[in-house]
Symmetry: C2
Subunit: 351 residues, 2 copies
DNA sequence: TGTTAGCACTCACAAGGGTAGAGTGCTAAT
DNA sequence: ATTAGCACTCTACCCTTGTGAGTGCTAACA
């Protein structure tokens, strides 16, 4: 059966109305509200066809229609029109990013908050992974007789600290020398190139401070390990309670439970990396393969830095979500974040 | 009316039962379950007295009794017996603290998680404030031509980083010299002693790098400001949904809403500082003065470091919470945290 | 042939009524 | 002082009924 223009119009009306009200949409509602010059009876016939095509369905006999996952898919792929964010929203998103330019983790946290504030959906976001990025600076600073501070900076100006405990005090000048040696060896290399060869080299060069190498390596390693762990920030989970589809406490609890499991989130966010065209990945309802989330849609986008994907943002809401808004918010925010990351790493390329 | 031993026993039975079941407790239930050698009729009479005293009440005529806030108060002040944590719980709590010894924010985050995991209640925790603590190390490190990394360490080995953007590159040796000058001036002082006099002194000493002072001061200031902001970590909010008293989505939403407001949390946590005896502050029901939380009890404890209160932990649950468990978990955790903080600051006192 | 009016039918939801069960308060007996 | 017994109350649950929204079908219409 061909999908006539009129059918499309009706489908669109059903989806719009359902997104707005969360109530099954009846033929009369459409006839009255959208005034498309045909009677409710005709709409009824068309709706019956749409149902045969699997685009809408009735939650129970003789009730209004609800878009099916397939219906939303069609809407998202073909019908949805881009929504432009208005100036104030744009500015809000931009200010959030630029106010936290110096601290990646705050930046991520605030970004998540901002997005969930704007969209009223739940937002998850993964921090850029510094693994495989190039080390720029490794410094040792004296803290006190028993501790030395290790400061690691990557090419992109991500800073990590680690306190190393030492048995005997190391004079400041020596620390300076040691820092120099370490820097010579590691600078310009990625943290995962730390092999036994490098370690031997380090031990040799450090001479009398050779004993210091193990704890140093351990510290670097621990720092790297903690950086390798994908950090995930989440915000706006409680918004879920506002949607009538989750007014059943049990359902809400199930979703919260699922969102609590980090692996699930990482998997979800990971999906967006499959997308080639720097585009978004939209998973509608059952498409996300997680039983508990079958009534949710998830839209993810990943942000890059120097051509490599660094992390992703995901927005989770009921299948009845405002796809066009979410898409534009995500696009805007990815652009903002990429700009910031770029400006961070550009600092050291300009003269 | 005097509070006979028998009345106390009955009150205790009611509270225990209600904490466990969340159902109003009837006289027959007590007669059967707690077998105290008297009939339900006698218990009924006693319960009637307890009600007159305001310790229990009926949610509706001819239903079982529920402890009133006053009843819980009596229980908490006089009747409650200390519960000892078992070995595994103790170890769990300890391991959480010692595994995150080097990163205060992870430590707080994980502590909150651990407590809410153990108790099933919501946990909030405020990070130690570094304001007013003594600066130990201030260093500038070269990052690249346009940025300098500011590293600030306090007496207690809390580390903060800040990237300063500079218009012209500053040679490494100069940075070293500048670091030395700054250190001379600020080392041993608290961050809030940074007055105009100190700034002038700095400007004079820095000579040709005088122009650098404003951005430096700004960076130090920003770092201090961000440290002054009381960081609050929260965990286990979704546990709230598990309690039958909040099975009404609206109620749950109200509480979430309230918990979202940071000021509220800070105020709540602040209360514990009023307590003199290093003890806990228990606020039962309406005692916390927050309308939305009238059905919640909040137990807070604050942890000290070198005699000063640094932060607090709070546990939020229904008034029908397991007070004795919460009290012992809190006591244990405060001790653990204080130990860690002590070991951090001890490092520089031992030779 | 597509469109519409009309009608019978279905279903969810709310309101009303009846019942069972848990619990109380009171009284009289022990 | 304690207890057994009884009348009473209130909630929770179930069942019934009525209403409104919405459908599908048929027959009439342009």
């Amino acid at each position: 059966m061909p999908l006539s223009d009129r059918k499309i119009k009706i489908l669109q009306a059903i989806i719009n109305d359902y997104i707005a009200t969360a109530e099954p949409v009846g033929s009369r509602t459409i006839a009255k509200k959208y005034d498309m010059g045909i009677s409710s009876a005709t709409i009824r016939n068309e709706m019956s066809d749409l149902e045969d095509m699997g685009l809408i369905y009735q939650p129970h006999a003789s009730s209004g229609r609800i878009p099916s996952d397939l219906g939303y898919r069609l809407y998202v792929d073909k019908l949805m029109q881009k929504k432009e964010l208005d100036e104030s929203e744009n500015q809000f998103l931009q200010s959030v990013v630029f106010q936290n330019i110096n601290h990646i983790d705050y930046l991520m946290e605030e970004t998540a908050k901002a997005i969930s504030f704007l969209t009223k959906y739940t937002t998850i976001i993964s921090e850029p992974v510094i693994n495989r990025t190039i080390l720029k600076q490794i410094r040792l600073l004296p803290l006190d007789d028993n501790s030395v501070l290790l400061v690691i900076a990557t090419e992109e100006n991500f800073i990590k600290n680690h306190i190393i405990h030492v048995s005997a005090p190391i004079p400041e000048e020596d620390l300076f020398v040691i820092s120099g040696i370490i820097n010579d060896i590691l600078q310009g290399h990625s943290v995962d190139e730390l092999d036994s060869e490098t370690i031997t080299e380090l031990e040799e060069k450090l001479g009398i401070y050779k004993d210091f190498v193990p704890s140093l390596i351990h510290a670097v390693d621990a720092t790297v390990k903690s950086a390798e762990k994908v950090q995930v920030h989440m915000s706006g989970t409680k918004n879920i309670l506002a949607f009538p589809e989750f007014s059943d406490v049990q359902k809400a609890k199930d979703i919260f439970q699922t969102l609590e499991e980090k692996d699930v989130l990482v998997t979800l966010l990971g999906k967006s990396e499959e997308e080639e065209d720097g585009g978004l990945k939209i998973m509608i309802g059952t498409e996300n393969n997680i039983q508990e989330m079958k009534d949710c849609s998830i839209i993810t986008a990943s942000y890059k830095m120097s051509e490599t994907t660094r992390g992703s943002i995901g927005i989770i809401g009921p299948t009845r979500m405002d796809y066009s808004q979410v898409v534009s918010v995500l696009n805007t925010m990815v652009k903002n974040i990429e700009n910031v990351l770029k400006s961070l790493s550009d600092n050291n390329k300009n003269p």
